[in-house]
Symmetry: C2
Subunit: 235 residues, 2 copies
Amino acid sequence: MTVSSAKLYLIPNLIGDTPIDSVLPASLSTLVSQISYFIVEDLRNSRRFLKKLNKDIVIDSLKFYELNQHTNLEEIYDYLDVCSKGMDIGLISEAGLPCIADPGNVIVRMAHEKGIKVVPIAGPSSIFMALMSSGLNGQNFAFNGYINIEPKLRIRQLKLLENKSLREGQSQIFMDTPYRNNKLFNDLLLNLNPDTYLCIASNISCENEFILTKKIAEWKKINIDLDKKPCIFII
Amino acid sequence: MTVSSAKLYLIPNLIGDTPIDSVLPASLSTLVSQISYFIVEDLRNSRRFLKKLNKDIVIDSLKFYELNQHTNLEEIYDYLDVCSKGMDIGLISEAGLPCIADPGNVIVRMAHEKGIKVVPIAGPSSIFMALMSSGLNGQNFAFNGYINIEPKLRIRQLKLLENKSLREGQSQIFMDTPYRNNKLFNDLLLNLNPDTYLCIASNISCENEFILTKKIAEWKKINIDLDKKPCIFII
């Protein structure tokens, strides 16, 4: 059996506590039941997710490898060895799509180098679901990850992103650690142009989902508490 | 009944001829059976899609409004009027997620202005499925839409995108009209640095899906025909 017969499946996870059938393809349950090896961002989260996806899966019979910001890159070199024995392997992020806003891409790059087929599965992503719901330009956009926390650099970055959005017509997507969301909201109100459109999307795909796009001038009249809620910001 | 009780649902479509249950959430079939009004990018495509999603839907009982690049923006102003009567409405793009790489965002912007709740549904997107499968940076990326077709501007744009990718570490996603894909592939081989990584993803989520990331120097040794295949390019 050649290396290329095995596949690396990119398996979408839930975002928060959502019913499986409202965000994930029905066939995913069958697919994961045929995989015995998983590379996961968070061990406990992935075990719980797989069990929720398919209650017949025997978690203890599976082999898990961890890949997150604490993983030594030398360690992961052997993770794909099972593929050379013809076994498929799944990559699961802590939330949403693997490799989007997480460091999973290193293992995918390695799969390409080793000639292992990479297969993406559709699923929820707070970034893309926020963008499509924002009413802002979805034909040209950038995701900038976490905003700078150093006060001066932070303000400079926000103004730079606003400038790019206005000048190039490129929607700018960013986020912050959830406990700093209210601070980010205030920084945006204080530093952006009153006419700039801002979309705030929190708890995407969950029961208390909140998505709203307003001009900065209008946001100033609205009281919201974003503390500790997962949020995507778009200007 | 207030305006805000009605919702604008952003309904994902298939990308190509894929089984429903491998890319769309199971609950979508029930959701669309409860909606009687749809704003669609392509009338024929949407009718066929809804019938495939739920064979019990009586297509002739539904009301469709068209929204695409040929639509006069004045026309769409009344599209959301049904929401003021408490009726939900669905937005369906020709392929994949509405408002991503299509002009649907104008109606979403209008929904925010009218106080209508916008609800995104998870589904397939060739852009994001290509990005997650590329092994390239998914923590900072930009989608640039269609590449310029004027020869000089085209080469300049490709070099600019390569420069951004190398200098800022921001993955650059772009596409071309499918019949020009082979030309774009050649332009990339001729003008980019041999060490630059290029991901080509075609026929995403379909039977003949092809996703590969290689350095430009390696791509030069590979024979591929991308003519008329839907493709996403990432550097």
